[in-house]
């Protein structure tokens, strides 16, 4: 079906709206890796608007490599049946704007620093925002990462998660205003 260089006009985005809650979330959505996995970590954060108020009606998706840097290519994005690693997670925010994922820290892929790709959808977002979660202990790899190091130095920290006492990470997302998270154009 290759049609050369002919290009079709792209379908525009529209907001996910406030009413996805009975359709998009699913039971294992936040469990990218099972919590009994020996290397399981928990990612947590809050999604905030330009007034600093939490978003109770956002939904996040993450996509990442496995601990050894392997990008998952098999089926299992939705149904993990308590085992396996899909690389994909989906979690709606709760009434306080909080989300969580159980996953493993990804290994580096192709010389980049390890990172997790993050999308946020919400009422009031006419298209998703795309960002990346980097890891704070990867000082050298982060400094050499071509995408992270291309971001203005004073905003780079918004892409780096904070280590928590339980070995997990905290990654708050500010859509607008002071400390606005760096979002990427695509």
């Amino acid at each position: 079906m290759e049609t050369g260089h002919e290009t079709l006009p792209v379908t525009p985005s529209q907001t996910v709206g406030p009413f996805f809650g009975y359709a998009l979330p699913y039971d294992d959505g936040p469990r990218v890796a099972p919590q009994w996995h020996p290397d399981a970590i928990t990612l947590r954060g809050t999604v905030l608007d330009g007034a600093g108020d939490p978003l109770p009606d956002a939904i996040l998706e993450i996509w990442q490599a496995d601990a050894d840097g392997t990008v998952p290519s098999g089926e299992g994005g939705l149904l993990r049946a308590g085992h396996g690693f899909s690389g994909f997670g989906r979690c709606p925010t709760d009434s306080a704007g909080r989300y969580w994922f159980s996953t493993v820290k990804p290994g580096p892929v192709g010389g980049a620093a390890p990172y997790i790709a993050v999308l946020v959808f919400a009422r009031g977002l006419l298209k998703p925002v795309a960002t990346r979660l980097y890891f704070p202990e990867e000082t050298e790899a982060n400094a050499a990462d071509p995408v992270l190091s291309a971001v203005d130095a004073e905003r780079r920290g918004t892409l780096v998660a904070q280590r928590e006492n339980d070995g997990g990470y905290r990654f708050d997302i500010r859509l607008q205003g002071d400390g606005e998270t760096v979002f990427f154009a695509s």
């Binding site: 079906m1 290759e2 049609t3 050369g4 002919e6 290009t7 079709l8 006009p9 792209v10 379908t11 525009p12 985005s13 529209q14 907001t15 996910v16 709206g17 009413f19 996805f20 809650g21 009975y22 359709a23 998009l24 608007d49 330009g50 009606d57 996509w63 490599a65 990008v71 998952p72 290519s73 089926e75 994005g77 939705l78 149904l79 690389g87 994909f88 892929v109 192709g110 010389g111 990172y115 790709a117 999308l119 959808f121 919400a122 009031g124 977002l125 006419l126 298209k127 998703p128 925002v129 795309a130 995408v147 905003r155 859509l175 607008q176 606005e180 760096v182 979002f183 990427f184 695509s186």
Partner: protein, 224 residues
């Protein structure tokens, strides 16, 4: 490269964008060939229920409303079918009411209609849903604000950068001109691409009206 078909983040007519639209410029990342965003999750048929694509058969009885078939192809911007793509939909019932606690529109719920479905595209990139025509409903964006009838669509391409969430509308809706979400797309021709086409060949005699609606995903950054 064609002009950006997508709405801007900040669209003053749609009031919820005011505090949620990013205000800082968005850097364009130089993605290497190994960037994880150039791949995406894969879904299999065993992950879906047999009736997930038929929103009229998920309860003991049949839902009220006008039964319809909505089908089309998921393509990339080069016209290639996206096979095995997960397509998820959600919508109101025929009266314009969502099965959602936040929806307080005083229209009746339908015990035989949830309004959520999903399917995987076939070898030609085709999806197909059986459902009922959703209703218009009021919202509080401005005085006397009503959303045109629509079905929410969530689509995965082969790359995470192609991820698309959008809404499909029905032809000839008088609410288009008054809807700031539809009108948030600056280009009129781009807006029209969100409107399904009534199709007599898709219509099943004595049973359901048919609509065709193709979905075209962005090129990946490596191809653009």
């Amino acid at each position: 490269m064609a002009t950006d078909p997508h709405p801007p983040y900040l669209s003053p007519g749609y009031k919820s964008t005011a505090l949620r639209a990013p205000a800082r410029p968005l850097p364009m990342p130089k993605l290497g060939p190994d960037a994880i965003e150039l791949t995406g999750p894969v879904f299999g048929h065993q992950e879906l229920g047999a009736l997930d694509h038929d929103l009229t058969r998920q309860h003991a009885g049949e839902p009220m409303g006008e039964r319809i078939i909505v089908t089309g192809r998921v393509l990339d911007s080069r016209g290639r079918p996206v096979r095995g793509a997960l397509v998820e939909v959600w919508q109101t019932n025929a009266a314009g009411r969502y099965v959602h606690l936040v929806d307080q529109h005083p229209a009746p719920l339908d015990p035989n209609f949830t309004g959520a479905g999903r399917c995987l595209t076939d070898g030609e990139g085709r999806y197909r849903f059986v459902t009922i025509k959703p209703g218009a409903y009021p919202w509080r964006n401005h005085h006397n604000a009503w959303r045109p009838a629509h079905i929410h669509f969530s689509v995965f391409g082969t790359a995470f950068t192609q991820r698309l969430v959008t809404q499909m509308y029905f032809p000839g809706d008088p609410l288009f001109a008054h809807d700031p979400i539809f009108q948030s797309i600056p280009d009129e021709r781009a807006r029209e691409r969100l409107v399904a086409r009534f199709d007599l060949d898709t219509t099943v005699p004595e049973w359901a009206l048919g609509y065709q609606w193709d979905i075209v995903l962005d090129a990946t950054p490596m191809e653009a």
